[in-house]
């Protein structure tokens, strides 16, 4: 019992962490595969993958998910051997490892969906275990004798693993050199922002850091600590020295041509520090993982502040009207408004994620498609450093997945066909961002495949040939439209373009356009807003129309018992209902909205939403509750429809705008009085 409670508490954090580790795992495995195909080892990728799997195993053991622990364990064993063997891994092992990650991912999903993880599929462990044996057998055979070629004093060299030594000696190609950069930390350097962490970051942008070794002993300038960074880089000595804050940092070559006799000058190997710098400092990099719900909570608190501010400004206005000297108060209020705006921007920025991070899954998708379709395809990601709100990113990704899948599945030709057309065997699917303007981000998904055959599309849809690209897109986006007769495993029957359009156009309020040239390829242009406002909403029906309100604004939902309503004389049709010993006014929302001007007064609705209006409870009678759901709020900007009590509109999936109401504001703006429509109707009657 207590165990399951603990698990439930820990699960969200576990799922988030597992997802991230799987992402790292996939990335490293793909990098490894690319290297293997070129016949080179990629020790760094192997190690990173090993770490990810190792951590996954530990975390999964903590939440007691045995199948994941099992899979991770055998992957880990195989990878450890590969790591010891200088990152060498037989090509054949990539697929079982990929399968392992996939199976783990599937189980993480099951846990996220509240199910328990399925048992390990038959044969997988055996396949992974077989790798382990092969790895162990091959491990001893790999030459590890690179140390002799390293111009490094023994005290340091002994702290390198064989894999790292090999990485340094074999990593030297063309302009790429292996060097050691000695950085001496000090108070003066820290003051100017140069610490081992910043040096690490800067050096990382110049090349590949194989190892960082702390070295104790007297230094230039009277210190007692030196960091030796062993780096593979194409950067010049001067650049590296600059990255370490200039002298006394020094750069020396590490791998010396066999003929040159050059023992490392300088540093007499002093005593070596026992502990390597903790791994954590490298990983954290100043980022923090936060649950989105906490950010939303902060936004809600901010909203409360905004409401409070408007009360304050009303109070000040009243003081001003009464002749009080409020000049300074007003100045403070103005400043306060600006601060609140800045604060809002700052909180919204916290929710932004880099587009590049969102697209991280696409290479894996394309890899899978390459195998399942037999097509040669390369994914080109041409993505800048633009950022999107998390909520937009989460919705955008499935649309991009659809488009990329369609491109590979339907647009790209098989290699032979491409060759016959004079195209390179390998097709290219390109996902690119094109900067942001006016709160919108432009993206394209393009391919160099066969293009959309407008004639065939028209024939299939049994309509005349579309005259414009827009009209063609319209046809492709018809629900259930497909250019294929048979469903297939990757894209299914429909092309899913209706889903893409639903997401981009209807949910996000963005734009979708198509350019296609027969034989040359197709480009989809997407334009999406950088942010959207999500709202947890209650949806209800009133006088035959649906409306939504923010869940947070409703204190309570109650059934209305018409027999127990009190109708005080002279209250103008207002009813009272009893709620926990006090009388709460009940307003018919239909009447308030002017939807049922002639309705009988006891048509109060079957349900009521209790809302606090200037601190007092008011019940709004509605006909029927539809449910609770998350909606995308579209603000109404046109002055024609900017009215008090209406926050915006949303699409509940029927293609019709549904109004999102602020009941308290609506009640205040229109409370008691007949609606404008009624008033004008009355006025017309008088006039005629």
């Amino acid at each position: 019992m207590s165990a399951s409670v603990d698990l439930a508490d820990f699960l969200p954090a576990y799922l988030a962490e597992a997802e991230e580790l799987l992402g790292t795992g996939h990335r490293q495995l793909l990098a490894m595969e690319v290297s293997l195909r070129r016949g080179v080892a990629h020790p760094r990728a192997v190690r990173e993958l090993f770490r990810a799997v190792h951590t996954l195993k530990g975390l999964s053991a903590m939440v007691d998910v045995e199948p994941i622990v099992d899979i991770a364990h055998w992957m880990e064993t195989c990878l450890r051997n590969a790591d010891r063997a200088g990152g060498r891994l037989p090509q054949a092992s990539v697929e079982p490892l990929m399968e392992g990650l996939r199976e783990i991912e599937q189980r993480v999903r099951q846990l996220a969906a509240g199910k328990s993880a399925a048992p390990v599929p038959a044969g997988l462990l055996a396949r992974l275990e077989a790798l382990e044996v092969a790895g162990a057998a091959g491990g001893g055979g790999v030459a590890t004798g690179g140390a002799a070629a390293l111009a490094l004093e023994e005290a340091l060299a002994s702290r390198l693993s064989p894999a790292e030594r090999e990485q340094l000696t074999t990593g030297v190609t063309g302009a790429r050199r292996a060097v050691r950069l000695d950085f001496i930390p000090g108070a003066d350097r820290a003051a100017s922002g140069t610490t081992i962490n910043t040096v690490r970051e800067r050096v990382a942008s110049l090349g590949e850091t194989v190892k960082v070794l702390p070295l104790s002993g007297p230094t230039v300038g009277g210190g007692s600590l030196t960091f030796v960074l062993l780096v593979l880089t194409e950067a010049s000595d001067a650049e590296l020295q600059e990255a370490a804050g200039g002298p006394p940092a020094s750069v020396r070559p590490l791998v010396v041509p066999a003929t040159a006799e050059a023992p490392a000058p300088g540093l007499e190997a002093p005593g070596v520090l026992e502990e390597e710098e903790p791994e954590e400092s490298r990983r954290s990099g100043g980022t923090l993982r936060v649950e989105v719900s906490r950010l939303d909570e902060a936004l809600e608190r901010l909203a409360a502040l905004v409401v409070n501010r408007s009360r304050l400004s009303r109070a000040v206005a009243a003081l001003t009207a009464a002749g009080a000297p409020t000049r300074e108060l007003n100045a403070i209020l103005q400043e306060n408004a600006r601060q609140l705006r800045d604060m809002r921007t700052a909180i919204l920025r916290l929710r932004m994620v880099r587009v590049g991070d969102v697209l991280e899954r696409l290479p894996l998708l394309v890899r899978g498609l390459r195998r399942s379709t037999g097509k040669a395809v390369r994914l080109a990601l041409d993505v800048g450093d633009e950022e999107l709100d998390k909520a937009v990113a989460d919705r955008l990704l499935p649309a991009l997945v659809h488009l990329v899948r369609n491109a590979v599945d339907h647009a790209l030709e098989l290699p032979e066909a491409r060759r016959a057309l004079g195209k390179p065997d390998e097709g290219v699917v390109r996902v690119a961002t094109h900067g942001r303007a006016g709160g919108l981000l432009d993206l394209t998904v393009s391919d160099d495949g066969r293009g959309v055959d407008a004639q065939a599309v028209a024939a299939r849809a049994r309509v005349p040939m579309p005259a414009t690209p827009d009209a063609l897109l319209e046809l492709l986006c018809r629900p259930g439209f497909s250019t294929r007769d048979a469903a297939n495993a990757t894209s299914g029957r429909g092309m899913g373009m209706d889903i893409v359009r639903r997401i981009i156009v209807e949910q996000l309020g963005g734009e979708l356009a198509l350019e296609t040239r027969p034989g040359a390829g197709t480009t989809f242009r997407l334009r999406v807003p950088l942010t959207i406002t999500l709202l947890d909403a209650l949806v209800f029906e009133c006088a035959g129309l649906r409306y939504a309100v923010a869940v947070g604004s409703v204190e309570e939902l109650i059934e209305v018992d018409a027999a127990r309503l009190a109708r005080p004389a002279g209250a103008g049709g207002l009813c009272l209902l009893e709620r926990r010993g006090s009388a709460v006014p009940l307003v018919s929302l239909a009447r308030l909205l002017g939807l049922a001007p002639g309705a009988a007064q006891d048509a109060m609705g079957a349900k009521a939403l209790l809302v606090r209006q200037r601190g007092e409870l008011v019940a709004f009678g509605v006909d029927r509750l539809v449910g609770q759901q998350e909606i995308v709020l579209r603000p109404l900007e046109d002055p024609l429809v900017r009215v008090p009590g209406v926050v915006g509109a949303t699409d509940l999936g029927d293609g019709q705008p549904t109004l999102v109401l602020d009941l308290a504001a609506l009640g205040l703006a229109r409370g008691g009085k007949p609606s404008r429509r009624e008033a004008s109707a009355k006025a017309e009657r008088y006039l005629s």
Partner: protein, 148 residues
Amino acid sequence: MTVLHVVFKVAGAEYVLPAADVLQMESFTGATPVPGAAPHVAGLVQVRGRVIPVVDARARFGLPPVERSLDSRVVVAQLGARVVGLLVDSAREVLKLDPQQLKPPPSLVVEGAHGFVKAVAQVGPRLVMLIDFPRVIGEETLDGDGQR
């Protein structure tokens, strides 16, 4: 040099708008009413993912309402950054007009049309009226009622 115009009908009369201002024409399947909006605002419709207000031309011109039919159209027009729809009885024609053909409206028309007609043109036997779109959708933001 002629300019393409979109022709639409309201209560039997023919009106035109420069085609350059018209984004598209949509059939009308009902609008979501907005409580508290001006009486000539029919409500909101969603056009290609965009939520836009629709002005009922009949209500705006002070004409009696009619049952909407399959012919009813929303003429979606761009006005600066705003996109607004105009609900009309039908719209199924475009017309090339020479700017020379457009004449100031007779004073009687000006009065009767609340200043919504900017010019008139004789096209063969027909008389078409160029409407002042900004005025029709209401240049002024909202009257006093909406300002509270």
